[in-house]
């Protein structure tokens, strides 16, 4: 399917216009929307993650690829919804209360979306009750918390505790990340998982989603 090759290449190269055009062409050629996601966008973003891990790609390239993937998803998403296609999992994501630094969170959100997850992005500076409300109303099975600052890391614990108090801790898995966050910290606050990279977050989410 040459159109999917073009789409794959457009995502790797971070060309959002080419990605949108290739997506339209693939749909016009009769390629199933789910095939576009699982057969092209997921492996393309996996490759972007790999390139980032081996430091051939850096933040600018990741952002460009994420934008290209989103341009494709913007076309595909309504078709998936219309067909009633179920995602790999539903993730509510945001930076925790007090933290406005969202580049890392945005990259993780894009990688998760490119990995076949439905992503409910609550943005930055998200209070625990908003995470709970979104996880409940959208029937999410994963919650991803991000913090860049040492002063806002405690909001991660507050959020995990709030899920516990709301009786939802058994229903959702909580993953955490951000520059000062460590596996040790994740364990200490009772999170289910930690990843130090956006690519790793997708692998973690896949593991947690099937538990």
């Amino acid at each position: 399917m040459p159109d999917l090759d073009k789409l794959h290449q457009a995502v790797i190269e971070g060309d959002w216009k080419a990605a949108a055009a290739a997506t339209q062409a693939a749909i016009a050629a009769g390629v199933a929307p789910l095939t576009i996601v699982t057969g092209c966008l997921v492996p393309a973003m996996d490759e972007v993650g790999r390139l980032f891990e081996c430091e051939e790609y850096f933040v600018p390239e990741m952002l460009l690829s994420a934008r290209a993937m989103k341009a494709s998803m913007a076309i595909v998403r309504p078709l998936l919804a219309a067909a009633g296609t179920e995602p790999v999992g539903r993730v509510v994501i945001g930076t925790v209360k007090g933290d406005l630094h969202d580049i890392g969170k945005n990259l993780v959100a894009s990688m998760l979306e490119g990995g076949g997850f439905e992503v409910i992005d609550l943005g930055a500076d998200v209070a625990p009750e908003r995470f709970i409300e979104a996880a409940t109303t959208r029937n999410a099975n994963l919650v991803a918390l991000s913090a860049l600052l040492t002063v806002t890391m405690p909001s991660m614990k507050t959020t995990v505790d709030a899920f516990q108090s709301a009786g939802l801790r058994e229903k959702v898995k909580i993953m955490v990340g951000g520059a000062p966050v460590t596996q040790q910290y994740a364990d200490a606050i009772g999170a289910d998982g930690y990843s130090e990279s956006a690519g790793g977050a997708v692998a973690l989410a896949r593991r947690l989603a099937v538990v």
Binding site: G14, F52, E55, F58, V59, P60, E61, L63, L64, R67, K97, G98, D99, L100, H101, I103, N106, D125, L149, T150, V151, T152, S155, A179, P180, T182, E196, S197
Partner: protein, 414 residues
């Protein structure tokens, strides 16, 4: 300090807190330290209203046994002249803010602030509940590729005004009369500092102002970025010539640039990109400084940046900060071994992500002593924590850090 900067071992490690906007102390910690040392009570001056850094006055400098002071531009972040100080209740702590500072509290408790204190335009800073400093609000106008003009990203750079020159000359006289080492932050030579790209001081920023859009532009609009940096570099050197004509070689170091090239585990670009896009401009600035002044050139970059150190040296940087030993590939002993004779490490003294805010005073002492043992031999080390002392850091840990440096120095100060 001068001995240390010359890579000779001084009688004691010089100690800095408060000389720059990246080696400072959060205002709440300054207040706590003043209380701890029994200094005069009263509101602390916030000299950097973005990160809410408190001014380290001479009495606190003496109490902590510090060796460095700073010179700052006339206008602080958000375009606020550092004058006409007024009291502001900062979530229960009475502080002094620049007279033009304006704040509005949203119903959710977030605090907004405005460029040049002008409440008729959109706010340019926000401090969420739970945070302790202002983050810049992105105000990105719609981008029309056909009309993108590098001049739009140069609005905040221009010939230095007489008012600004006079301020710098006055500040340098005071700083140099103090007997401390002096770091001067003149402004204007930070190329693509992501904290400044959104132009928090401008009322209606134009050009590329969104953080993600800027990062992507370093890849997709490279000629545009080059044209910004070229002109910024010309203006910066012209301004440095005028500043130097006024102050001579009075200051010891010049803060050149705070652009971050590292993340916790990686970098924001490859070395090849750095050398193509940033290196030429750094070299022009640093070469001018070295050819015309006795100032040392100070480079700040957080994160995992060891890969750039050879390029930093080649570009003429003398000093690196904050030496984030907690980032990937930043082992202190290895850094000292490879670069210790060619770069001054201004920082790296103690981790501010874990040990200082969350450790015990004993853990802080042990880490500080270990770092001093690594970095001190042969000079080339000015003690500072890894970046500013953050809000919420226990004062006992800050004091333990200071005591440990003095313990290493063989004294019992503080």
């Amino acid at each position: 300090m001068r001995t240390a900067l010359d890579h000779r071992e001084p009688d004691r490690i010089p100690l800095d807190f408060g000389s720059t906007a990246v080696t400072g102390i959060h205002v709440s910690c300054v207040a706590a330290l003043r209380d701890y040392y029994g200094l005069a009570a009263g509101p602390v001056t916030v000299h950097e209203p973005g990160q809410m850094l408190g001014r380290v006055e001479d009495d606190l400098r003496a109490a902590m046994g510090l060796d460095v002071t700073g010179v700052f531009p006339r206008k602080a972040k958000f375009g606020l002249p550092a004058t006409d100080w007024k009291e502001w209740n900062f979530r229960g702590l009475n502080v002094l803010m620049p007279g033009d500072f304006r704040a509005r509290t949203e119903p959710n408790g977030n605090i907004l602030t405005y460029p040049e204190g002008d409440e008729t335009v959109a706010p340019s800073g926000r401090m969420p509940m739970g945070s302790a400093f202002f983050d810049t609000i992105i105000r990105q106008p719609e981008i029309d590729e056909e009309k993108l003009d590098p001049a739009d990203n140069l609005e905040e750079f221009g010939p230095i005004s007489e008012e600004d020159l006079n301020h710098i000359e006055r500040s340098v006289r005071v700083a140099c009369g103090s007997g401390y080492g002096v770091v001067a932050s003149f402004g204007g030579t930070s190329f693509g500092d992501i904290a400044l790209v959104p132009a928090p001081s401008l009322k209606n920023p134009k050009g590329i102002r969104d953080v993600a859009e800027w990062y992507m532009s370093t890849r997709t609009r490279r000629s545009y970025i080059h044209r910004i940096f070229e002109r910024q570099c010309e203006l910066g050197i012209e301004n440095l010539a005028r500043i130097h004509a006024g102050i001579g070689d009075a200051v010891d170091c010049m803060f050149v640039c705070g652009t971050d090239f590292g993340t916790q585990t990686s970098a924001f670009c490859s070395v090849a990109t750095f050398r193509e896009l940033w290196f030429p401009y750094y070299k022009l600035v640093n070469d001018w400084v070295h050819a015309n002044t006795a100032w040392k050139c100070f480079k700040h970059s957080c994160g995992s940046v060891e890969r750039f150190f050879e390029s930093f040296i080649e570009a003429g940087f003398d000093i690196v900060n904050p030496v984030q030993c907690s980032a990937a590939g930043m082992d202190p002993a290895e850094l000292k071994r490879k670069y210790g004779s060619r770069l001054v490490f201004w920082g790296g003294g103690v981790d501010t992500q874990k040990t200082l805010p969350f450790g015990t005073p004993q853990e802080v002492r042990e880490e500080v002593l270990r770092r001093c043992e690594i970095f001190a031999p042969g000079g080339g080390f000015v003690f500072n924590s890894i970046h500013n002392l953050q809000a919420g850091t226990p004062v006992e840990n800050i004091v333990a850090m200071v005591r440990a440096v003095h313990e290493f120095n063989g004294g019992s100060h503080a």
